[in-house]
Amino acid sequence: MIYKCLFISLLVLFTFLFGCRSLPDAELGNCEDFDYDIFAKNFPFDIPDPLQYRYTLSWRSKTMIANGIAHKIDKSGVNIAGFSNLGMTLYSAQWQDNHFEILKNNTGMSDKFLKRSILFDVLLLYRQLPAAGNCIRRDGLDGSLWLETKRQLADGTGYFVVVDGQPGWGAIKNGKVCFKAVVEQQNMKTPTKITIENFSEAYKSEIRLINKNPAK
């Protein structure tokens, strides 16, 4: 019993110390009747299909870089894969019926972490905006608008975010920001780069979109 209590205390302490980051900008306001159109203007993006990208993951002071491809199978399905500069497949997976099936994982990381990092990061681009009327909150600090969704993101509640007219995504868990992604665009709705911070999994990543289609 003592060990059990000790273990739970350590777990709570660990979550408190290394879990989601406590940020002042996590203090979102209550659900209010803000303008939903600001989200509709920013999402979804014009994403080429297939989409070619370069993915950089910084994790535990190491960096992994992969060349990647995402290809829509149908309305709800996406194939995602990546390979090294020397041509070897690093990962390939299929998103279907709201879950990932990993077909190949040569990254050296666990399937779980592969899903929670690279695969979910790429899938962000395919997130569909919820119907109007959902809860919209304003961040008291930077004035960004947060549109709450019923979907999970980085183990928290997923949000579409618009800050200074720039789109992105966020996730809140126990009132703290777990995940933050900001989009850089060349033109409206044409992203060029997404910078991601995942506080739950303790990594940073970057997706650079390559404006080039596969060989004709």
Binding site: Q52, S61, K62, T63, I65, N67, N85, M88, G108, I210
Partner: protein, 245 residues
């Protein structure tokens, strides 16, 4: 009488069959002779033995089983005997892998500058780079420990195709077969490398322009920003060829 006719017919049939077989196989052998493996490897190694430096442009194609079309990238490889290699991708993004024979360093060109990549894949990349270096020198005899080697004349354009099938089970999880296309003698150029992975993914590295034994830019294997000078090697050759035309 009837018996002798039957015997004559059988004789004629046998002669015709022999002649036809001879013609068929003779012509085929003349078109695409398949040399003995050991002889071929010796010739290949001998042909590359005087190679001091090599620079080659390449086109990479990555085929995923779920895609109709390959993903294409371009770059160049520079090699100095015995073990210095530079492997750059120039399109659609810019990276450099430099090996001075001791250590390997990787760089990415971002926001107008070369940034080093701290990676935990350094050892495995070094092994692959060393392997490529061995192939560039035509050294395949010493590959028998890792691979089962076989040759065929499957390549419709080239002379011979050398297949390397990994022996260790762990290796076969990642690579099913490596196919090396070698041009006709006396050149014995390695024109293309295909890597077949289990479950249908494939990778091809096709060499397009080869420059042998030319003086390489200084610090080519240690400084990523010498990329421009390295690329000039190919444009110089192009210019020379067009002026000769």
């Amino acid at each position: 009488m009837r018996r002798s006719m039957i015997l004559r017919w059988i004789k004629r049939s046998i002669y015709s069959a022999i002649i036809m077989t001879h013609i068929a196989f003779g012509v085929a052998a003349e078109r695409n002779p398949v040399p003995a493996l050991e002889d071929f490897l010796k010739h290949l190694e001998k042909r590359h033995s005087n190679m001091k430096t090599l620079a080659a442009r390449f086109r990479q194609e990555k085929h995923f089983s779920f895609m109709d079309k390959p993903l294409v990238s371009e770059g160049y490889i520079i090699f100095e005997s015995p073990d210095k290699i530079r492997f750059d991708i120039t399109e659609p993004f810019q990276t450099a892998m430099l090996s001075d024979g001791k250590k390997i360093e990787r760089y990415e060109f971002l926001d107008d500058q070369w940034r080093p990549i701290q990676s935990n894949a350094g050892k495995s990349i070094k092994l692959v780079m060393e392997q490529i270096g061995q192939w560039m020198q035509g050294k395949f005899s010493n590959q028998k420990r890792l691979f089962d080697l076989s040759i065929s004349a499957d390549d419709p354009n080239g002379y011979v195709v050398l297949d390397l099938e990994p022996r260790p089970k762990q290796f076969r999880q990642y690579i099913e077969k490596i196919r090396i296309h070698v041009s006709k003698p006396p050149e014995y150029h390695i024109t293309r490398i295909d890597i077949f992975e289990p479950e249908g993914d494939r990778f091809a590295l096709a060499f397009q322009q080869e420059i042998l034994n030319k003086k390489l830019p200084e610090n080519c294997f240690s400084k990523p920003h010498t990329a421009k000078q390295c690329q000039e090697l190919f444009s110089q050759k192009k210019k020379k060829e067009s002026s000769e035309d």
